[in-house]
């Protein structure tokens, strides 16, 4: 490790205190998501991935910037556009891709699919398919963390990150969750990944008074901020102190994170509701390109000067190879065995006569828990 690689800049922003090495890792994390999603789209078009599939491309700074602002054992839960969070949280790309291929080596043994990414060792509690349904769960994860601390006396101060899209703003579940979180003082941060569309319906057509989203949360007594979600450093600068405060004070938070998805809502979206020009306009603010620029620019130019053109190409090559390896792994992995897997993981404590069809069983151990078995 060279001296340059560990150097941090002297400055006022929290991100100024991060090492070059850390920022290079974040760039790598974001590029991993982008490359992964590119291959996911290919595999989907080749019909190797089925079902609904929601692509995260464009939103990479959000998952990476927020997750890197908290501890690795803080609980994280999200909706169905979840590949980015899974990878940012540290899920092996092989397990993520194999899940979408419906293979036994997937994170949910091929029983969950694209919308249900779970990773217990990395404290990722899903991947949830029903819009807004994860928001009461986020409150529950925060409740458990606080209960562990105050009743069992065994924990530490945690903060839960609960992601939702702007479409979930309109769900009753989210309003109940906010009320409970505020009432009970639950350390959960609701992060609205506001990409401007609830499927194909623009936000001004689906959320009343949408210019004043923070007022909604404040109406519940929840501290709320808006953060520009295109620059990972800016997210860190603004989100990290916010998350630290929610953790310290053990209370909820609400973040309106402005972002944009480059792809359609799902793989089957013809995107008639927005113009190509609009998409191109947002691509000019691309979070990966801007971080690359920052890392390549010299310190005199306000950058870090810690990444060369060649090193960036090398990073992209290595990530491409890592993702291709994940695709190969997914393709070559066996499907779940019908005899042992169809009727396993339904009950932890199976017993006779739970079903008129046949008895439930225990199947193969989950690949992510294999080290623990």
């Amino acid at each position: 490790m060279t001296q340059a690689a560990t150097r941090a800049r002297a400055g006022d922003r929290p991100s100024d205190r991060l090492s070059d090495e850390t920022l290079l890792k974040w760039l790598s994390d974001m590029q991993l998501i982008r490359e992964f999603e590119t291959r996911t789209m290919q595999a989907y078009q080749q019909a190797k991935i089925g079902g609904f599939c929601h692509i995260y491309t464009g939103q990479e700074p959000v998952a990476v910037g927020t997750i890197q602002s908290v501890q690795p054992d803080d609980p994280v839960i999200t909706a169905y556009r979840d590949h980015g969070h899974a990878l940012a949280r540290g899920m092996d790309p092989r397990a993520c891709m194999a899940e979408m291929f419906g293979k036994i080596t997937g994170c949910a043994k091929g029983k969950g699919g694209s919308m249900h990414m779970f990773d217990r060792p990395h404290h990722l509690y899903g991947g949830h398919g029903i819009v807004g349904a994860q928001t009461p769960l986020g409150a529950g994860l925060a409740f458990a963390a606080r209960y562990e601390l105050e009743v069992l006396g065994t924990g530490k101060k945690r903060v839960c990150l609960c992601y939702l899209g702007d479409g979930a703003l309109d769900q009753g579940a989210f309003h109940e969750a906010q009320n409970l979180a505020s009432l009970f003082g639950l350390p959960v941060i609701y992060i609205v990944e506001n990409n401007g569309y609830s499927m194909g319906t623009a936000i001004h057509r689906h959320t009343a008074n949408h210019e004043h989203l923070l007022d909604r949360a404040r109406g519940y007594g929840i501290d709320a901020v808006q953060i520009d979600g295109f620059d990972v450093l800016r997210i860190y600068d603004e989100f990290k102190p916010f998350a630290d405060a929610c953790r310290e004070d053990q209370r909820p938070g609400f973040v309106n994170l402005i972002t944009y998805r480059y792809q359609g809502h799902s793989m089957s979206d013809p995107q008639k509701y927005r113009t190509k020009e609009e998409v191109e306009r947002f691509k000019e603010k691309d979070g990966i390109a801007s971080l690359v620029h920052h890392l390549m620019s010299s310190e005199d130019e306000g950058g870090r000067g810690c990444l060369s053109e060649d090193e960036w190409k090398q990073m992209q090559r290595e990530i491409r190879e890592r993702v291709m390896d994940a695709v190969r792994f997914a393709e070559e992995s066996p499907e779940p065995d019908v005899e042992t897997e169809l009727y396993s993981d339904v009950f932890l404590n199976p017993m006779p006569h739970l079903s008129p069809i046949r008895d439930y069983v225990h199947g193969a151990p989950n690949p992510l828990l294999a080290d623990d078995a």
Binding site: A108, A139, G140, L141, A144, E176, A177, L354, N366
Partner: protein, 345 residues
């Protein structure tokens, strides 16, 4: 917080204290005793619901529990079933053992997404990574002139969903033993009580005991016909059995106690003796637990039947308010007697 190993209960089910005795308490007290005993044993258990704490329970089931366990473990919620059901589910995933009380299962319908989509499917969707050790409990069935929206019997609707266990006790003794087992079980359990039975009094042993799931109780013995029921209508079957005995007709009354698992073996054994079956179920008839029992008995004991199976359900209309209409709508001993005499005669 994270416990990877499956926390399977080590329970001695062989210990079953006598059902007869002098310690007569109410059904609601038996429920309270089960919860309190388990909460003393395991700090991870908490009770959450509307009016469970400061009000001492809308139906006084949790009376005194706030005093003993404090507000961090006996938790009043707003009227927000979808919210607090989901909160409980995630708390269970994270290693706690919640008991979530619905004042009425009728109100659980607004939490259907959480209790049907998340609780029973989490283990499967996560490929075995996260189970959901939670008990949902509350009043089920017509409470008495509450009208259509407050009189739900959810067992027909909910037992269709794989991934949860369903318990419906008919008496205080079973209520205590079954609820203790439910709290210890690592899977989601739907525990259905009845407002109309909470004041029922019977002997309940003061000591700890557990009743295994999937074992029906033969509550009355006879050879003319098998009566199969669960929850409150079991008591109607026993009344009918008494009356029928006066006419020289002796019936088996099977109290199923759990719907999932369903002790079909006990039903088959009885039918092999009686060759006739009447299923009594306080749900609507279409796609009900009664339908399921009849389907299974046809699959397993068709050749033992001397007559087609018969069901006594509620009538197939929304629950009426008027006293006479509601009485006509619900299963009752007279309807059961009619069904049996028709079948036997």
């Amino acid at each position: 917080m994270i416990q990877y190993a499956v926390d399977l209960p080590e329970i001695d089910f062989s210990y079953a204290p006598p059902r007869e005795g002098e310690r007569v308490i109410q059904f609601r007290e038996a429920l309270r005793e089960a919860m309190s005993e388990e909460m003393r044993r395991d700090e991870r258990i908490f009770l959450m619901g509307e009016e469970v704490a400061e009000y001492n329970g809308a139906y006084k089931v949790s009376q005194g529990m706030l005093d003993e366990f404090g507000p961090k473990r006996i938790i009043d919620t707003p009227i927000s079933e979808n919210g607090f059901a989901g909160l409980g589910i995630a708390a269970a995933m994270a290693g706690l053992r919640p008991i979530v009380e619905f004042m009425s299962w009728s109100f659980s319908l607004v939490a259907a997404d959480q209790i049907l989509n998340n609780a029973p499917k989490m283990l499967y969707m996560s490929g075995g990574q996260w189970g959901c050790p939670i008990v949902f409990r509350g009043n089920d069935g017509a409470g008495g002139q509450l009208g259509s929206t407050h009189s739900w019997c959810v067992e027909g609707l909910y037992s269709n969903v794989p991934g949860m266990k369903m318990v419906i006790p008919s008496n205080p003794y079973d209520a205590k033993g079954l609820l203790k087992t439910a709290i210890r079980d690592p899977d989601p359990v739907f525990f259905l009580e009845s407002e109309r039975m909470l004041g029922d009094r019977a002997h309940v042993p003061p000591e700890e005991y557990y009743i295994p799931f999937g074992q029906a109780r033969l509550a009355r013995e006879g050879d003319a016909c098998t009566l199969v029921s669960f929850g409150r209508p079991v008591n109607f079957c026993l009344e009918a059995g008494e009356a029928l005995s006066g006419q020289g007709i002796e019936v088996d009354v099977l109290d199923m106690r759990t719907i999932r698992p369903l002790d079909i073996d006990a039903i088959v054994r009885s039918v092999q003796k009686t060759n006739r079956i009447v299923v009594v179920d306080q749900c609507w008839p279409f796609a009900s637990v009664a339908s399921e029992v009849m389907a299974q008995i046809c699959e397993h004991a068709f050749d033992w039947l001397d007559a087609p199976p018969v069901r006594v359900n509620t009538d197939d209309v929304p629950t009426p308010y008027a006293k006479n209409l509601e009485a006509a709508y619900l299963p009752n001993p007279e309807k059961i007697i009619r069904a049996v005499t028709h079948l036997v005669g």
